[in-house]
């Protein structure tokens, strides 16, 4: 069912596994920051971080011998798709929950937000790509 990692690949295993999570976080961070700060030029960097994550997942899969069975390949696919889509999904949820909060209970938010509206516009704006927002 499993083929253990070779001794020579130990370090690469730890490094690639750590890179998966760390670059997943960098991707999520840059993705969100680009949108919050209206800095679309950061978006290519975010996707570059995802590219490193992609390479890390493939490296990890190779050294831990995951390509030997369909089951473990499915894990690789789930990781690649999951890490790619999660920041998008969470972003939409952020927008949705904050927008709903503004809409349903303005009194509450008035006391806890800045007096000026957040600088990233309405819920509709969020759903547009960064490139369009910047124009």
């Amino acid at each position: 069912m499993i083929e253990p990692v070779k001794l020579a690949d130990f370090f690469l295993t730890f490094l690639s596994a750590a890179s998966v999570i760390l670059f997943g976080a960098v991707y999520a961070l840059l993705f969100a920051y680009a949108k919050v700060s209206k800095m679309p030029r950061l978006m290519p960097l975010a996707y570059s971080a995802y590219a490193v994550l992609f390479a890390s997942v493939i490296t990890l899969a190779k050294v831990t011998n995951l390509f030997g069975s369909a089951f473990w390949i499915s894990l690789v696919v789930v990781m690649l798709v999951g890490y790619f889509l999660a920041p998008h999904a969470i972003w939409h949820l952020c927008v949705g929950t904050h927008a709903a909060s503004h809409h349903n209970n303005p009194a509450v938010d008035k006391s806890v937000q800045t007096p000026t509206p957040p600088n990233f516009g309405s819920a509709n704006t969020f759903h547009q790509p960064c490139k369009e927002k910047a124009t």
Partner: protein, 489 residues
């Protein structure tokens, strides 16, 4: 001369007064955990130290038990702290809650005294009932087990009855309250699974992991989610609707991967082979929610600009976010797949992950609550920018965090040497075990762990000093979230 604000429990509601008692014992037990951890770390580099007086096995046991109990005391305290505000009613059965606090504390003291003075007993049922059950992390003797169950039931009564009493007045139980109640049922119910044993060690370990894993990676995570939601509302001013929505989502995601993630404990205990697949698959997905939450953190900081009314508490909440991500996420993932875990489980690698994850995910948020309680105890004193004597909390935080990181890295290096020399090259034989223990990388890692342990201990002393003095000479009142927003404009 600057006026001195005394610690005054008159500023607190009934539940919060009880919470402060739990927080005080929790902080003292953290000291005990550090003390016995230091003794055990010293024995790693000087094996003859206290040999025959308090052996390594006893120090390690008290170190870990103190961890579990101080975190539990902190969690229980946090629940009492938020109870009346969340429920909208005074704590029901507060007198019982107070009695239970003293019973619980006395139980812990007696158990520790027996651990230290009696230590071991003959292989008879009397040992299991009166001295120790012998299983890692759940060593408490059976009488104490039963006592803990009684205490937890009384605690649950306090919480549930208060929420139901407030239900009519508030028009329902809050989202945080609902999640908390369900979590407490699971927390108490799962503990019962650790109270029986079988002579089949695989079966025994199978259920024992339910207690350990389901507490740490399920019910405690949910508990921390509730605590974080409450803390964000109070410290940062985030709206209830938002934190509640995210609490539901976090619980869904955590439990989605966390429950079957138990499989990574079943890799090598004699359970069927399919656990390699289940454990590997779901464990690999466990960090995904943590990564996804980065987006939420960035979004919220964009909205609130991190303006808050309690800088020390906010600092520790941020430490929790990073610590949980790195300790549980990165450190867990790098050795969670069975293909590599074959070599790393039970080595210093696991200890490195354990230290980072427990500290990052749980210790930090308890400390944040201690600061929230201190602020109110001083009469809602100012604890934002230019706080008088703010070097203490900052240096305590630096020393504790750097000390912990240093220990983690020391254990990581030692664990790397162990996994290669003892497991991969030596084939996990007895000879290979000693070969790894004597390897310079391992030995140096243990020295580094001890040195940074001293740094951590210094941070603890400073933390306690700060808890006793912070806000003492402040004359300003707490900054409201409205003021903070206007100030930033």
């Amino acid at each position: 001369m600057t006026a001195i604000r005394a610690l005054n429990s008159a500023n607190l509601n009934g539940g919060q007064k009880l919470a402060v008692k739990y927080f005080t014992v929790a902080l003292a037990l953290l000291g005990a955990q550090i003390l016995f951890g230091m003794l055990a770390a010293t024995q790693f580099v000087m094996p003859g130290f206290l040999y025959g007086v308090i052996d390594f096995s006893i120090n390690r046991m008290v170190h870990i038990n103190a961890l579990v109990v101080w975190l539990l005391f902190g969690f229980i305290g946090a629940v009492y702290w938020m109870l009346e505000e969340e429920a909208g009613a005074p704590t029901v059965g507060l007198k019982l809650g107070n009695i239970i606090f003293y019973v619980f504390t006395a139980t812990v003291l007696v158990v520790v005294a027996v651990y230290l003075l009696v230590q071991v007993g003959p292989g008879e049922m009397s040992t299991q009932w009166l001295i120790t059950e012998g299983r890692e992390y759940t060593e408490a003797p059976r009488w104490a087990d039963i006592g803990i169950v009684v205490c937890v039931l009384a605690f649950f009564y306090n919480v549930a009855a208060t929420f139901f009493k407030g239900k009519a007045a508030k028009g329902g139980i809050s989202g945080i309250g609902g999640v908390l109640l369900l979590d407490l049922v699971a927390l108490a119910g799962i503990y019962l699974l650790g109270m029986w044993y079988t002579t089949n060690v695989t079966l025994d370990q199978y259920w024992w992991w339910w207690v350990i894993h389901m507490w740490v990676e399920a019910t405690w995570e949910v508990m921390v989610g509730c605590m974080m939601a409450y803390a964000l509302m109070n410290v940062l001013g985030t709206s209830r609707k938002i934190v509640t929505t995210w609490l539901y989502l976090e619980v869904f995601m955590m439990l989605g991967s966390g429950i079957l993630g138990i499989g990574h404990h079943y890799f090598w205990i004699g359970t069927p082979e399919y656990w390699l697949s289940i454990g590997g698959f779901f464990s690999a997905l466990e960090p995904l929610p943590l990564v996804a939450m980065v987006v939420h953190a960035v979004y919220d900081s964009g909205v609130h600009k991190s303006r808050n009314n309690n800088h020390p508490a906010m600092g520790w909440l941020i430490a929790q976010a990073f610590g949980n991500f790195l300790g549980a996420g990165v450190w867990g993932f790098i050795h969670t797949l069975p293909q590599i875990n074959l070599y790393t489980h039970g080595t210093q690698w696991s200890a490195s992950h354990g230290h980072f994850a427990f500290y990052g995910a749980y210790a930090t948020i308890n400390i944040a609550f201690f600061y929230m309680a201190t602020q109110k105890l001083r009469g809602d004193v100012w604890m934002s920018g230019n706080l008088f004597g703010n070097w203490k909390w900052k240096w305590a935080m630096v020393l504790l965090n750097l000390g912990m990181l240093g220990m983690i890295m020391g254990m990581l290096v030692a664990g790397f040497a162990q996994s290669q020399i003892e497991r991969a090259i030596g084939g996990a034989t007895w000879t290979a075990f000693f070969a790894a223990q004597e390897h310079p990388w391992f030995v140096q890692g243990m020295y580094w762990r001890l040195a940074f342990g001293w740094m951590f201990a210094a941070g603890y002393v400073l933390l306690v000093w700060d808890m006793l003095t912070i806000g003492k000479r402040e004359t300003r009142a707490v900054q409201s979230h409205d003021d903070a927003a206007l100030e930033a404009k």
